[in-house]
């Protein structure tokens, strides 16, 4: 097996997790017009959630995603009522600042509890080997879980009443309210789902790499790139864009030093913002 192919498969696997992380950001941004700056710290909380649950219940770590998703929903509702509800409809700067404040609080509390030293979830699944290259079971399981969660969200948004209500509010809040949809409840639900997605992506990352309470920041930046690539409010688009970003990383790294990757990613970010302001998946249908 060639090095480039192996590198691209690795990129594809981790890209799915980037995609899942970005789905949370994209959903909130698209439905509520709120740039959620608690995204990174919630990803980190998801990592610690997995760490704590796995220490208490050393079962297959991926089964623990369900309680983490549930806790993420609750946390999302709490953050919504603390910092977002009051600034809905105001300028984006208000929600940016209020979610940034909550972000700093989470990081402050997290640093006090866990310090900024690295933690590991010591769970390993057997992988498979092709020639000299081995793909770890954890990477495969994390990518699979990310895709399952993304598909479940897509089904929820398109096949259930609350899901359709979220899409209706995203399209036209006033019209949705005239149809009897409580936009406040719908916005709270959308925010909670976005937070749960971020937490679950953090939980998946924690099974792959060591982490600290500050680790979410890097994934938050990647989520911005993915969201801009995909366009707002398109969950499956975000997953596809995440996979694309992972593949790009995988394809490029055999030829350049890994430390150049952020430069390439943010170069792409700027190019897409300028050339495809509605995302690369929107232009084709526009």
């Amino acid at each position: 097996m060639s090095g480039i192919l192996a590198s691209m498969i690795d990129g594809l696997l981790i890209g799915s997790v980037y995609g899942l992380a970005a789905m949370g950001l994209s959903l909130i941004w698209g439905v509520m017009d709120v740039i959620n700056l608690t995204h990174g710290s919630v990803i980190a909380l998801g990592m610690f959630g997995m760490y704590i649950l796995f220490a208490a219940f050393p079962v297959n770590a991926y089964f623990l995603l369900l309680p983490i998703l549930a806790a993420g929903l609750l946390l999302g509702l709490v953050i919504y009522w603390i910092s977002v509800h009051w600034v809905i409809g105001r300028s984006q700067l208000s929600s940016l600042l209020s979610t940034f404040a909550v972000n700093m609080m989470i990081i402050g509390i997290g640093t006090a509890i866990w310090s900024t030293s690295p933690y590991n979830v010591n769970f390993t699944l057997r992988g498979f080997t092709v020639g000299d290259y081995t793909f770890t079971g954890n990477h495969i399981a994390a990518a699979t879980a990310a895709v399952i969660i993304a598909l479940a969200l897509e089904l929820f948004l398109y096949r259930t009443r609350p899901g359709k209500a979220i899409r209706a509010v995203a399209d036209n809040r006033e019209a949705a309210e005239l149809m009897g949809i409580s936009s406040t409840m719908v916005l709270a639900l959308a925010f909670a789902i976005g937070i749960a997605l971020a937490a679950s992506s953090g939980a998946l990352v924690s099974t792959l790499f060591p982490f600290t309470i500050l680790s979410g920041a890097g994934y938050q930046m990647k989520s911005f790139v993915v969201t801009v690539l995909a366009g707002l409010g398109k969950p499956l688009g975000a997953l596809a864009a995440g996979v694309l970003l992972g593949l790009l990383e995988g394809a490029v790294t055999p030829f350049i030093a890994v430390s150049w990757i952020p430069l390439i990613e943010f170069g792409l970010f700027v190019v897409v913002l300028v050339a495809f302001p509605k995302g690369i998946f929107t232009r084709a249908t526009a």
């Binding site: 060639s2 090095g3 192996a6 590198s7 690795d10 990129g11 981790i14 640093t111 310090s115 900024t116 030293s117 690295p118 590991n120 390993t124 992988g127 080997t129 000299d132 290259y133 081995t134 770890t136 954890n138 990477h139 792959l208 790499f209 060591p210 982490f211 680790s215 990383e249 995988g250 790294t253 055999p254 030093a257 890994v258 430390s259 990757i261």
Partner: protein, 400 residues
């Protein structure tokens, strides 16, 4: 009158036992948080054990006085900006008489700017980069063997085992590891090795998949590099989980920590260039023997000492001896005594360069190589495998 005898006796006794003892303030920062946490706290434990033993014995005796050691220390968060603020604070507000370095070459280089500016003596430990000593400093004294020597022993050993090995260098993009790897690359080429791959990674890297794929593609058979504990342990875990077909892995710093054993099978076979190991037996001219140090350390902290711990304790010993030799805590006199130091402690020989172009550089101390191996009961232990004269077990090569 009889009633007064006891109180007067107690007051006099108190005066005799503590009245003449003065306090000597030693300042340093510790990375209680951040990426350098594991190694830094081990170094702190070395400082603390030395302080407690010296104070229990009545303090440092110099010029007819006794000096009890008190520490002033802060969390530097593994951050150079904090180091700059905190070393200034320790000199100006806390009035530290002497300083120990923080852990790591990067933080120490920053601290050294402050201590030199205020003409304060700083013994550096846990900091091997040699460049800082070429800048014309006068009050800086290095306890660790300089970085350029770290990987030479491994390459010499590899030459005897497998002169055709293809070498990959994968290392942290930080001042210490760069200072170690650059001369090692030159030395490897000089010895005739094929340097098949070389890449530095960002200090906070957690995903090594891309670099590991490149190592495999380069057909390297030996990996040398790493940096500190957080990145080194992650790199070893991922090399193991990706089943990279390597015959030898040598990483800087991280595998020396007793915590390394917690990596399980990923720890096996990994080699670390070490400043000191409990198995090394130097005949101490001053201070405790290696066995006594290791015993006291293990009793206090329930874990065997790493070389960072030994470096911390030895820094205290060398400073203590210099103060005793100087008969004073005057900076100029103690600096002169440090310049004249050439002594063997449990940690090995310590001697500082006195030439202006490398003043304070460690020129007396020699390193060993330790490898994590399984003993007969299957327990992971660290064995000295190089130099052959000091070995406690044979090198396992190849590891798979």
């Amino acid at each position: 009158m009889k009633r007064l005898v006891l109180p007067i006796f107690l007051v006099v006794a108190l005066f005799v036992t503590t009245g003449f003892a003065q306090n000597l303030t030693l300042g340093f920062t510790v990375s209680n948080t951040g990426a350098l946490n594991v190694d830094s706290v081990e170094q702190l434990h070395g400082f603390e054990l030395w302080r407690d033993q010296v104070n229990a014995a009545g303090g440092i005796k110099a010029g007819g006085k006794s000096y009890k050691i008190q520490f002033v220390s802060y969390d530097d968060e593994s951050n150079t900006k904090r180091v700059q603020q905190l070393y200034s604070r320790m000199v100006l507000q806390d009035k530290a008489d002497f300083l120990f370095s923080p852990y790591s070459s990067s933080l120490t280089a920053t601290a050294a700017i402050v201590t030199e500016q205020y003409e304060k003596i700083m013994l550096t430990t846990g900091a091997a980069e040699g460049k800082t000593y070429t800048l014309g400093n006068h009050y800086l004294f290095q306890m660790f063997t300089p970085g350029a020597e770290y990987l030479k022993g491994v390459l010499d050993m590899l030459k005897t085992k497998d002169p055709k090995a293809a070498v990959a260098f994968v290392y942290e993009d930080a001042s210490f590891s760069v200072a170690v790897v650059n001369p090692a690359k030159e030395y490897a080429q000089k010895l005739g090795f094929n340097v098949a791959f070389s890449e530095a990674y960002a200090p906070n890297t957690t995903d090594f998949s891309a670099i590991i794929d490149k190592v495999i593609a380069s057909k390297s058979t030996v990996l040398l590099g790493g940096g500190h504990y957080a990145d080194g342990s992650t790199l070893a875990r991922q090399v193991y989980s990706h089943k990279v077909p390597l015959k030898m892995i040598t990483l800087l710093v991280a595998p020396d920590s007793p915590q390394w054993g917690e990596l399980g099978d990923a720890a096996v076979g990994v080699i670390v260039p070490s400043q000191w190991e409990p198995q090394t037996t130097f005949k101490a001219q001053y201070g405790p023997s290696g066995a006594d140090f290791a015993k006291a350390y293990t009793a206090k902290y329930n874990t065997p000492p790493s070389y960072e711990s030994a470096g911390g304790y030895a820094s205290g010993l060398i400073l203590q001896r210099a103060i005793e030799q100087a008969g004073s805590i005057d900076t100029a006199k103690v600096a002169a005594a440090l310049n004249a130091t050439d002594i063997t402690t449990f940690y090995g020989r310590s001697k500082f360069a006195t030439e202006a172009n490398q003043h304070g550089l460690q020129v007396g101390h020699a390193m060993v190589l330790a490898q994590w191996q399984k003993d007969k009961s299957g327990k992971l232990v660290k064995q000295v495998v190089w130099p052959l004269a000091a070995k406690s077990a044979n090198l396992v090569y190849p590891i798979h």
